[in-house]
Amino acid sequence: MSLLSNLVNGISLGSVYAIIALGYTMVYGIAKMLNFAHGDVIMVGAYICFFATQNFGLHPILGALLAMVVCTVLGITIERLAYKPLRQAPSLAVLITAIGMSYFLQNSALLLWKSDPKVFPTFFAFQDKATGEMKTGITLFDGGLTITYVAMFTVLMCVVIMVGLTLFTGKTKMGKAMRACSEDKAAAQLMGIDVNFTISMTFAIGSALAAIAGVLLCSSYQTLMPTTGSLPGIKAFTAAVFGGIGSIPGAFLGGILLGVIEIFAKAFNTQISDAVVFAVLIVVLLVKPTGLLGKTVREKV
């Protein structure tokens, strides 16, 4: 039974990674940059939701929506101020700026919200009508397997987001414009597509997803501090590369697999779980450098 419960936990954690990885992969696909500050936007989203619900008594759904709005604005602002001036700069300069932005966000959070961990509330608890106690999940097999509501909701959200993004990029005018920009910015401009606006939109979507991921992550693990987004951010980046960076189904698959591998490795030995995760990444990249679902682009001249 522990096999099954590890699998459930893995898929749930993997879903959070997948949501973060989708943001990474969208921004990479269109702006061709690795936004290392993405993980820290998660942390900001979680803090916004925390304060909105704990200090201002907002309903958790409103708190999450507020976090999405704040992160969207934050993401667009970061892109405008830090990355846009570097559009023509070498990619190394952009990479260093993104790492700098990541530390800037962490330290600002430290200054504003202090280093002591906050205990994130349990949003996903419902009263059992029969017994009157608060339940956080359903129990199967006579207590052999517990699936928390937050885990169920996380997986559901992840699937909804993945399907939503696939439809958005495949069917809508804006989504197609994003794909056009991702392939060839000059040609996209010649079509009349405003590339700067399209990149802003990509950051907006990625950051809103980061806010959702932040709320879901903290609802599962319940500790929130300024470095909360850092490691999940890096792991989600790993997941995006694992699945094939730039690919939406790739980010989804990479995220889920990474979560499952991590939880199983943890069950085996807590200390080396992260080492196992990254070892798997290295092996995958050695065998298939473009990632599991990565596309090799053949160009005709």
């Binding site: 392939e183 079509m191 009349g192 597509i193």
Partner: protein
Amino acid sequence: MSTVLKVEDINVYYGAIHAIKNVSFEVNQGEVVTLIGANGAGKSTILKTVSGLLSSRTGSIEFMGEKLGSIPAHKIVTKGLALVPEGRQVFLQMTVEENLEMGAFTRPKAEIAASIADVYERFPRLKERRRQIAGTLSGGEQQMLAMGRALMSKPNLLMLDEPSMGLAPILVEQIFDIVQELNRHGTTILLVEQNAQMALSVAHRGYVLETGKIVTTGSGEELLEDEAVKKAYLGG
């Protein structure tokens, strides 16, 4: 004859490199005008500057009587000026039809279906391959797609950058036939070519470009007969 495009005294730089030096030329309504010159003479740079992808330090570019100045590339398209870029630059991972939709990005949704039908009528091959990813098309088909995509914006002036590049002679002729046919139907054309023979034979007028400067101009026939042009560009 009214002037569609009037380029006056432009100077374009790539960093410290002075790529275009005091270039002036014009294109009139209904004409096919060609810019010919060797590789690196600055032909593509001029088209990129007119379409707004690059900017000129001096001078002016006037399209249909309006100064383009610092209008960004994505707004210039809406004024009726389209560029078929060098190397086609179709969106390889999008389908043929999606490429055409992108060409009509600035136009109202209701008009797009009719324009796509027009393009399919002109290029039946594209219709056969409408659901295929553009990356699977042959070079000639990609050139047709790039032209079709540019036509989707209903341009007054169609600029073509080396449409013959990398194509077999029979396809080159086909492409030039299409260019002439488009012109007969009222589209003004500015054509950049290394294949000077072909370009001059379809053009009303031509300009010869050498290291960023215009050195000769004349009608298509005149330039075909010009000794210096013959020697440098026509292999005789």
